[in-house]
Symmetry: C2
Subunit: 840 residues, 2 copies
């Protein structure tokens, strides 16, 4: 048996409790000092030599601190990269003999049973990873007291010299990705703490991966995916051999496809000038360094080689330091620059201080990675609870798949124009739309760029259909500009259909429509105040606007035993249904003079208007009444569609079908703009004629652009596949409940809370507020949301209405954590508000 | 010296003339029979074994035809993969001894001097590739007369066993990519012709690449880029060794990032179960096949191994055949499906027959790859002369770079919401916009999704600025809906600013605005008929509308010696400038009752209105007159910006600056929707206040989405970099002239042509037409454009106005070819029209 030369210093189980932990601590990446990931374009291309070379360069030039972390080691203890670095740097120190000292240590944190046993000094406990905490150290004295320090760590070690996922399977069961990341995070905390008081360039840390960039880690996840949440800048050790150009470029591309920044490429010189091709490939934007050929003789101590590589490693180290400085400096400078040149939508710039600007370094699944530079520089996750303003859907896995798809689609299509053409992503997307969101009623797909344009198109469709049905266009081929009648929409108050004028005209007057905002707004509609439902004091309650209280109907306080009851179809036979029906009939009679050419509404949830849930019974009755009068019905599902409310289309919730429906936002998974207006054949037919001038002459250059269609086709399928989305119930039509009922009730009973709505991926609440504190312009919720950002939750208010929004794949556990934190902060908020008022 | 065992059959130089040819023949890929590219995840992973295995499987089961093509061979003649396939299949034939016969041949087309010499039978001519046409053949007789045929070809061979680009450099100079592709195309023609009369599954062709997927070809271009124009489906030979999962996945991703479809992965079994990880990676969507370990003994004849691999190769062959069938079937079915479910914008569906639908399989740079299935099934390039409806810009190189960037950006950001946030792509994009298109005047960037939304935002900006400047909002914080005055725009007739209602209201009545199309259109503007310029009979000519002929100004026939003269600033002092100025002043006086709150115009070219070139002097005078009256000026550069007219911004052409300008289309390189409204600080300041309600409350969920900003940042830089865009003149501010002046003149003098405009990437002409043949609804140009599609040019008419549009990087040579073909077809068109009329 190989004699394991480490000294056993301690065996306290300080990592044990974390080995199978599931609570996810936020994964902070300190930026106080440079940290790099060392990747290989293949196995055995010299990653450890590069690590040791950089360590040597850093530690032997002046008294510095270097962390070497090997998260995953197989072939242990015969192979131990951390020991190699530990030994070689020590040998190099003795050879170079600088004036200062070196303290070096090497620590093996955890090992599989066989790997533990193989060390000869301990008994591994069978088929589990055990805490080893083997440690060896050396102090090499120089003339001066000053000291460099090398800290080497292996996080997890297995005995068999195979890919980590195989070794883990055979020796220890699987170590979860989250556990690897948490252990790494603790190592980073050591970097942060050990570097306290030291200059930025005095501390350097490298994390060396195992095998190639896409080699599986212990759980089987590819390492490039495994480490992605940290998005640590990368050094790629390339391949100087024949075929190495290809391997290096492909490895580079795999890293790029996961959002990594490759800071430098290093490769061994095999005389083939691979570096020339690589520099040409990167257009000289990534430095490519060459180190001399490595001696093949296994007995060579490599000291000569390290000496010969001195300049290369020194340059590499400088590149690593300067790229780090540049990154940190850029991150610090971004808020000021943004404030100077951006013009954010829906934002009063005067109210945004430089410190109030969030620097988003990246996102991974549902989390932003946010830079914080006030005290310690750090990048940390914040749950994107505004689901990137109502679009974002993918988890980390889907994000990676979409990245590959977006690359593929750009390469295959770029953009190709749509009219009279067909190409695969557009066709697939249209087919999926008709099989899913439009199932049972829609036959045609009209693509555009965003919800607002989709609505304008829908209105044009509806008006044409109405005009044809009601004989407003006697001569169909008469394309003159004469306006036979003034068409209006029937719409609901507090609805919001978009920001372009046509969409605005279809909504009631609001803060968005005044002369200050849109001087051309007139409001071309008849706008009804709809009955709404919400949870208050743990009970779903109906709120009936004034107009409905007339007649024989008693002004009862209507409540529901559950949310399901609200959607129950049997309500069609209720007295309330009759009341709704009469109300609408009367309305039509009263407004006989108006020409109502379309009904337009957001089914179930009116989002921008304040997250109001409209009584679905009312909407169903309204649809039926319009249909009786041959008024085309438009569903604005831009917000509500694609699982936002727990179903693919709200048709499943309100149980009636439109003639036209608009989709956007989550349709593409929420990563790229695309919208679609779906329509029936009857609507389509009203545009068919002999002249181009009767066609629907509305379009945008990027109509049905390939990338958007590809993302949509992928996401539509993904979200409803129970194998890919754990939230999908087996029949593929419903998301499981994401918001814990008990917590929802608790919040709805909170004294600060007016009302709550929880449905699908949406949890919204209205804070009790009066006067200036209420309404869209209110800043009332500001301090509450600021506190929640400190908790790692990024929210954005609609005045005194706030909401949590997750993706269709987000786990109920995560949603739970959000609610718990929200409740805690609500308590504090109330306390503070009481204090504030008692001070007055 | 190695004895070269080939028989020299013929040395006719049938390839010589093509070796350095530059005329680009359209690269047709026949789909009459399956053709596959064999890629390796590294060198020496067994590509040739797989090729031979598939060949054996195809040829020895029944009498079939197999083409093996090795475009690039180094290490020749010691290494010759085509000879290996030739030999092994013959040996396998003898071993299996089927009832039919086998005719096998191996041909080496071209070789470098040293490679020729090394054959020992010929003298290579020094440092150039020479035609070799070495051929060997075998006829192996079976009992029956039926015969399988194996045709092996090596296209280019070099002696040194290094990467092709090094071998080419050292032995023969470089073989251009276009030459490799043309030779390959000729080999495909042989496949097509040889397969004539044979069943689809009786002929199979594989093209085996050299080294890994991203190994350089002879010119230094990566092979995955080199072969991309054909986009042949791929078989990836993976790596079964330790590290092989990573190498295989990365190679797969490099192919994906170039738009290839990988149909299957094959790898040698090294006992590491790499196939399990690979199947998990592809989610079982790509079959992964394993072949037994290859004997290491070089003297092994591999016959046992081939026998042991029989099932795998047989399965692989079946996969190749069925994927081919599926592809062809899908392509055939697409037009019908499209016609059934798409609703194309600006398209009268009744006028689009199934045969009139273009199936776009992909695009590469400026060319569509179009499927034609009528006679022979084939994929062939068509120049996208509608530049994908006015957006498309990248050449093939930029497309590849954008693909990588889009993958990276999706992986790094997906989408993150914009307000109060900052992230790198948005910041970079905004900075580049202000340094370029907005240079000298703009300070703020407002992002939106398309030109139409950018215009609506611009109008809101202008109206607010005007209202503040003219005291229309006495109490700035009064956000009520009262409308103190009815604001209008000043705009030009024939202008087009988008399809949403707000944008439409700012344009004069047209086919797009009637009750049939947009019942809510009223036309909130004062619309001027502008003076235009165009080439007629080789001369730039001014056309002055009626209103200008009044007063002292003589109704001269004004012409210009050159286009530059039209843009000459000295014209400000001309009598015409005075006429323009008086005309506009009078107009303002006459309409004193109207409240004109903004000037909006497309500078220089009115695109959708019919490709009219407005006299820039008139536009400059108009801007100055508005400025005098404190009317904010909006430039709609959505079409005209970003090199469409040969300059980054039309400010450089018309020599005056706006207060607000809108950009879109080409801004992202034309691959993904994004728009920006740029504004001065003065405009921005009119929205700054204490309340959110005075902020600009217009926005879209995808505002400043990361992918769009990334594409824009990349393209903005790329297009103006003389190192990347060969059309950029040295000072980086002008494109060189793309349209040959002589040809332009010639076309402008053609009897069928009314007028011509050529500027930047745009060449437009109006066909002489009357009555129904004129105007937007006209189908007059249809037959002409159909003929041009047969020539490989894809155009789309604006009624009787047709245009050619290229990208900012397209070569003048390509533009020249387009003009030549257009001229030829114009001749025929006139001839046909004359004949048609004489028949009547």
């Amino acid at each position: 048996m190989f004699h394991f030369p480490f000294r056993l210093l301690c065996r306290r189980p300080f990592h044990r409790r974390h080995l199978h932990s599931t609570t996810s601590q936020p994964l902070q990446l300190p930026l106080s000092h440079p940290i790099y990931l060392i990747w290989g374009s293949n196995t055995a291309v010299g990653k450890t030599l590069v690590s040791a070379g950089v360590a040597g360069s850093h530690l032997l030039s002046s008294p510095n601190l270097f962390h070497y972390i090997k998260p995953v080691q197989t072939g242990f203890p015969i192979d131990s990269d951390s020991r190699f670095v530990f030994n070689k740097v020590s040998e190099l120190f003795l050879r170079r003999n600088p004036s200062f000292s070196l303290f070096a240590s090497n620590l093996i944190l955890n090992a599989s049973g066989p790997a533990s046993n193989a060390t000869g000094e301990t008994q591994g406990c069978g088929m589990e990873m055990s805490v080893l905490n083997w440690r060896e150290e050396k102090k090499l004295m120089g003339k001066k007291n000053e000291c460099s320090e090398l800290i080497c760590k292996t996080m997890y070690a297995w005995e068999e010299a195979v890919s980590p996922h195989l070794a883990a399977e055979r020796e220890s069961g699987t170590v979860k990705d989250s556990v690897v990341l948490e252990t790494l995070q603790r190592c980073f905390r050591d970097v942060l703490e050990g570097g306290d008081g030291k200059g930025k360039s005095e501390v350097l840390c490298v994390v060396e991966t195992a095998g190639g960039v896409a080699s599986p880690g212990p759980s089987g996840s590819l390492q490039c995916d495994l480490y992605r949440p940290f998005r640590i800048p990368a050094i790629l050790v390339g391949d100087g051999q024949l075929g190495g150009i290809s391997g290096t470029i492909s490895a580079y591309e795999s890293l790029t496809l996961r959002g990594y920044d490759v800071v430098a490429i290093v490769l061994e010189d095999h005389g083939l000038l691979n570096e020339v091709s690589l520099m040409s490939y990167t257009r000289n934007k990534v430095p490519v360094l060459v180190v001399p050929p490595v001696p093949k003789d296994p007995s060579d101590d490599l000291m000569e080689w390290f000496e010969g590589s001195h300049d290369s490693f020194s340059t590499l180290k400088e590149i690593m330091l300067s790229a780090y400085y540049e990154r940190v400096q850029k991150l610090h400078g971004m808020p000021r620059k943004a404030r100077n040149i951006f013009w954010w939508p829906f934002t009063q710039h005067k109210l945004v201080p430089e410190g109030g600007i969030t620097v988003i370094d990246s996102r991974c699944g549902e989390n932003f990675a946010v830079f914080k530079g006030q005290n310690t520089e750090v990048i940390e996750p914040q749950f994107d609870a505004c689901a990137s303003w109502w679009t974002q859907g993918p988890n980390a896995t889907l994000q990676t798949e979409l990245a590959r798809d977006m690359g593929y689609t750009t390469a295959r299509f770029g953009h190709v124009m749509f009219p009279e053409n067909v190409y695969e992503p557009a066709l697939n997307c249209a087919e999926f739309l008709l099989e899913g969101a439009g199932k049972g009623w829609a036959s045609r797909v009209y693509f555009s760029d965003n919800g607002s344009t989709a609505i304008e198109i829908a209105l044009k469709m509806a008006f044409r259909k109405f005009s044809v049905d009601h004989g407003l266009i006697p001569d169909f081929d008469d394309t003159t500009n004469e306006q036979p009648v003034e068409l209006m929409v029937l719409a609901l108050k507090s609805s919001y259909h978009g920001d372009t004028l046509g969409a605005m005209e279809a909504q009631a007057a609001s803060s968005y429509t005044g002369f200050l905002q849109q001087p051309w707004y007139t409001g071309r509609g008849l706008f009804l105040d709809p009955p709404t439902v919400f949870i208050c004091n743990s009970t779903w309650t109906l709120s009936l606007p004034q107009g409905f209280h007339s007649g024989s109907f008693k002004d009862e306080h209507i409540t529901f035993a559950s949310r399901d009851e609200i959607f129950y179809e049997g309500r069609d036979k209720s007295e309330l249904a009759q009341v709704y029906s009469s109300y609408i009939s009367e309305l039509f009679s009263r407004n006989r003079g108006l020409c109502i050419g379309a009904l337009i509404m957001e089914p179930v949830i009116q989002a921008a208007g304040g997250m109001h849930m409209v009584d679905p019974l009312f909407q169903r009755v309204l649809v039926n009444e319009c249909r009786k009068r041959k008024v085309p019905v438009i569903f604005d599902e831009v917000f509500t569609g694609f699982w936002r409310l727990g179903v693919e289309t709200t048709v499943e919730l309100i149980n009636c079908m439109p003639d036209i429906a608009c989709f956007g936002k989550l349709m593409t998974g929420g990563v790229i703009p695309l919208a679609a207006t779906l329509a029936t054949d009857a609507v389509f037919d009203s545009f068919v004629g002999d002249s181009k001038l009767t066609a629907l002459l509305h379009g945008h250059s990027y109509s049905a652009h390939a990338m958007g269609c590809m993302a949509a086709a992928k996401s539509i399928k993904w979200f409803k596949d129970p194998c890919l989305n754990p939230n999908i119930t087996s029949d593929g039509r419903l998301l499981r409940e994401l918001w814990d009922a008990r917590l929802v009730d608790q919040i709805s009973s909170h004294p600060a809370v007016q009302r709550v709505v929880a449905l699908g991926t949406l949890f919204a609440l209205e804070l009790k507020a009066e006067g200036q504190n209420a309404g869209y312009g209110s800043l009332y919720a500001r301090s509450l949301l600021q506190d929640l950002r400190d908790d790692g939750i990024y929210m954005r208010p609609l005045g005194n209405v706030i909401y949590l929004m997750c993706g269709p794949c987000t786990s109920p556990e995560t949603c739970n954590e959000l609610l718990v934190k929200l409740y805690q902060r609500l308590e504090e908020f109330t306390q503070n508000t009481i204090e504030k008022y008692s001070e007055l």
